[in-house]
């Protein structure tokens, strides 16, 4: 006989446009990220909560799945290859692993020195990470949920118009206790946010303690 345990919502927040966010997602719990306004890049890093030196590795993740895009079934892995989270649902289709986070510094290269004072994802990662004792060296190549970065045959790659839409979501199951660090991307100089950064919704559901 199977006893169905109704998942309990343990967190439900709307992350404002341009803002950082972090939370612990316990093993077995699920985090659902909803793109409320459509084509909103959600820059995302994940760390084993018990040992934040074990963290998401874009390289280990894409090497293990032999594909650069994330979608349902993708396993987010640490540098040593251990699973941190699994994508269990994805109504968008594919997500970026290559483009990393925008920064005040890289903005000067991509768009010009005049963008130096614009807010950027690395600022969000640094200020939010500091709350957990994380610093600059803890930032590595991140996931960009809902960001569209194709690679041409000659290697040309770029952030192009998104394939997401209002209400599309991606759901992640934690395979261990995970600290997630998020920047709701403030970028205005490329189409990653449809040139209009919007809020995203974060919902964590957990069956633990629900019975």
């Amino acid at each position: 006989m199977t006893t169905l345990i109704e998942p309990r919502t343990v967190l439900d927040v709307e992350v404002p446009a341009r803002a950082p966010f972090s939370t612990i997602v316990h093993k077995g719990a699920q985090l659902t990220i909803t793109d409320l306004g459509g084509n909103q890049a959600v820059d995302f890093l994940a760390y084993a909560a018990a040992d934040t030196s074990r963290r998401y590795s874009a390289a280990a993740t894409i090497a293990a799945q032999r594909n650069i895009f994330l979608t349902t079934g993708s396993v987010l892995r640490t540098g040593e290859g251990d699973p941190l989270m699994t994508v269990v649902a994805d109504t968008c289709g594919r997500h970026d692993t290559l483009g990393g986070a925008c920064s005040k510094e890289s903005n000067t290269l991509r768009y010009g020195q005049h963008t130096r004072y614009q807010h950027a994802c690395v600022e969000n990662f640094l200020i939010e990470g500091a709350r957990w004792g994380l610093g600059k060296r803890d930032l590595v190549s991140n996931i960009n949920w809902y960001m569209n970065v194709p690679v041409e045959a000659d290697g040309t790659l770029g952030i192009v118009d998104g394939i997401s839409a209002p209400g599309l979501m991606v759901r992640l199951r934690a395979e261990t206790d995970v600290l997630v660090l998020v920047s709701n991307c403030p970028q205005l100089n490329n189409p990653c946010n449809g040139f209009d950064p919007t809020p995203v919704r974060m919902v964590v559901t957990d069956t633990a303690g629900a019975a």
Partner: protein, 283 residues
Amino acid sequence: MTRNTAVTSTDTTYGARDHARAQAGTVVETMPTIPAGTWPDPPPGVDRERLIWAETVAGGGYTHKVLARGSELRLTDPHGDACAHLLLYHADAPWERLNVADTVKVQWNAYLGPSRALLSDQARVLATIVADESGHHDALCGTSTLAGNTERYGDGSPQGPSPAGLSLFTLAAAKHGLGPRDLPPSLSLFQGVRASPEGDLEFTGSAGPGRSVLLRTELPVIVLIANVPHPLDPRPDYTVSPLQVLAWRATPSTPDSPEWTSTPEIQRAFENTADYLTARGIA
């Protein structure tokens, strides 16, 4: 290999000392040449007095060095199965380091090749790829892991026959005061990977023996190199041949160098680098 074979007894301190000293002078294929200027075969146009690093790194081995700004670093794959996994740090401020995501995003290209810059997270140029005879490289997959090599080859430990790149980077980094948190995704040279339009990764292997890649350092850098099979190398055996490393004093890129103006983005990266160096009093 030549080996000094003087037979000595090691049952006393004097004998043990003689025994240890008798080993000096042994020559093997994979070893550093010190002083570097005694390297037998300097590249054309490079006086041996300019050599600052000469080494042949064993398959499964690693090496590391701090190089001055304006060094040229030539990596060569003599036998065709080297795979040079590479990390770079700004030696004066090692919290500034290679950022692979910015390197591919800023240059609008996922693949490495001539005139490509290796960018730091501070939007500066750590090094440039001045020449590339291989074209088979990878900026996507990082290096191999203990668990991955244990599954693939039965062992991935540094003391075993098939060390993992991440373990070797951990060791190399530690010798510069850097810990596991200081290991971002790395590049690899001499074994290629390509992505399909659907994102599938294909291992394209080596371009063949005798190919070199020439890098020029634009900041003082800590160089970490692990010579291990690429994580997507499908061969069942741990297959990696020695890597030749040669570096010499040269001059950094200038606004007249083709690398400086290769793209508008890279020109700004060089300008950011010059801005830092000027304020710092280095250049």
